[in-house]
């Protein structure tokens, strides 16, 4: 077994563009779940409208990229309003069910033959981010120490994505420690108390849902840009589940929680993947037990086990405080 390859795979994945994109999407989810106590199980839906907003504007209608970015953000705002208007006055469970259903409904609509002229149906859309790569100031080639090397293209996406993480993180930190943030957190702790102090809880929840959704949409755009393609099947509800996993891992209700969580999540996932494959090819694990094609499924089953154990034994994650994470349904 080649341990240096395993470790370098894991490192590359832990600091790579995908980790940054998931960190960004989870920051939006953190605002919902960690700070406001909103159970959004459809963050992937916001990523979808963001990615498709950009892709459709550029690839289907030949529009400029900045318009696509605005379009994606506008779609996320509309989606948040559509989801929030009926459910935010109700118990937390209703938002949970509605968001997971809405995310899946969007995916079904975008992949349907009916929407194919605009969204490309099951084939999705490709090659719409050339303007983004045209801005790349880095000379072609590979960069990085030891085996952890990135192409100039990946490096450019990484720099932008991590910069966005930094900016959004600063913005959220300022917001959370402002009076607005105190109201948001008081809603999480005790909604009735916040309401009795004269706060319009519904409006605050809605603002949180919209803002977190927009952050999710920006993450979706970066994801679409990174692979230069959008495909409906990349937006299945599993993505939201992974976002929850890394959020709980890092610590919900902490600004750096999703960042630490995402880095660790992708590091561990990649490590497992690489290590399992090598163990199978070196026949430490019998191929009859797990074949290489099943490695993907096995590591996701392990993610599920990790999630159960985390919530059971360390619900506050790595950075969180236990007191803040003993939430109950409202």
């Amino acid at each position: 077994m080649d341990f240096s390859a395993i470790v370098s795979d894991a490192l590359r994945s832990g600091i790579g563009p995908i980790a940054a994109i998931y960190a960004l999407a989870a920051m939006g989810l953190n605002l919902h779940f960690g700070y406001t106590g909103l159970l959004n199980f459809g963050q992937v839906g916001f990523m979808l409208v963001g990615g498709y907003g950009l892709a459709i504007t550029v690839a289907t209608y030949n529009g400029p990229m900045w318009l696509g970015v605005l379009g994606g953000i506008a779609c996320a705002i509309v989606l948040a309003l559509l989801l929030g208007l009926p459910t935010l006055r109700l118990r937390a469970d209703y938002l949970a069910i509605t968001t997971i259903a809405a995310g899946e409904t969007l995916r079904l609509f975008y992949r349907s033959s009916w929407a194919e002229p605009v969204t490309g149906g099951v084939f999705g859309l490709q090659r719409f981010a050339n303007d983004f790569y045209a801005l790349n100031p880095i000379e072609p080639g590979t960069y990085g120490p030891w085996l952890v090397r990135f192409s100039s293209r990946d490096l450019w996406v990484m720099i932008v994505a991590w910069a966005l993480v930094l900016v959004v993180g600063l913005l959220l930190a300022l917001l959370i420690h402002s009076p607005w943030g105190r109201v948001i957190r008081s809603i999480r702790e005790d909604e009735v108390a916040a309401r009795s102090l004269g706060k319009n809880v519904y409006a605050y929840k809605m603002q949180s849902l919209v803002l977190g959704g927009v952050i999710g949409a920006v993450a979706g755009m970066m994801q679409a840009i990174q692979v230069q393609s959008v495909n409906p099947d990349n937006y299945d509800p599993g993505v939201t589940f992974f976002l929850y996993t890394l959020l709980v891992l890092g610590g919900a209700g902490r600004i750096l929680g999703p960042v630490v969580g995402s880095i660790l999540f992708w590091f561990v996932l990649s490590f497992l993947d690489s290590a399992l494959r090598q163990a199978i090819s070196a026949e430490y694990i019998s191929p009859d037990l797990i074949s290489t094609s099943e490695v993907g499924a096995v590591r996701f089953a392990l993610v599920g086990i990790a999630l159960i154990l985390l919530v059971a034994f360390r619900p506050q994650g790595i950075l969180g405080s236990r007191k803040e994470m003993l939430l109950s349904g409202r």
Partner: protein, 331 residues
Amino acid sequence: MRYQRMLVPALALLFVLVPAISARARGEAVPRGPTFGARALQALIDGIQFGVIIAITSVGLSLIFGTIHLINFAHGEFVTMGATFAFFLNVSAAGPGWHLIPAALAAVVFGALLGGAVDRGIWRPLRARGTGLINMFIVTIGLSLVLRHVVLVLYGTRPASYAQYDIQSTIDLGPAGITPRDLTVTLLAVLVLLGIAALLQKTRIGTAVRAVSANRDLAEASGIDVQRVVLFVWMLAGGLAALGGVFFGLVEIVTWDMGFKLLLLMFAGVILGGLGSAYGAMVGSLVIGVVAQMSTLWFPVDLQYAWALLVLILVLLVRPQGILGRAERVG
């Protein structure tokens, strides 16, 4: 709020009229094929059949919610586990090759044991630790990931059918038709639903389940063993989910992610009927099944599940407590 009462009939009318007019406009271009009435009847029959299968699986989901207020995101995986377990006994080369009927019964027992094991192994310790409800939701997500990918490893991605009752000729019912298999499944499902209703109304354990749903603390104070009731609900839910999985695999096909697709329709049915109400789940699921199938009369087939989910959002706008839910404060 009076205008909201008008909203439902108005939307229902819109749902029927607009497409009907456009279908008539299109109808002139399409020369032959069954008449609209025949297609509507066929879709209604298919919808009822689909609806009762969803109902069987969603009753358990609703009972779990009623007793411990937990939304079980892993419920779809219970369905898949049941269907694939029966597949293993029935078809798989490594399995014993049983006939489908004993295989289905074994799958129901397996589902019940799985439900019981999950309650004893995960939920009960978590309840004892005082884990918050929201964290419990996340645990169900973890459980769903584990079960789904275990099925993926053991079963694979290839869709397959059971060995028996695969291809049948239809019985003509006037302009529409149904295969003996589908008719049997529908009737069996209705019988099972009636059985659950009788169980909830007539038996001691059923009364206890309803008591715990209505007011857990009061039920506990009047001497009901809540932990036992919860265990019973989990086993019942697991068994029903497995049965629904076998039925769905029989009339459609067995796949590794079939349960997750059904889960969203179950959610829609459960909310439509009223969260936590077993009878509401039955009625709501029936509506969802019919809506999903009837939508194919006017809209592309690949959108049929999406309409059912849109109905869910519309219902929340107008009547969040659902059709049969208690009109208590839900916010």
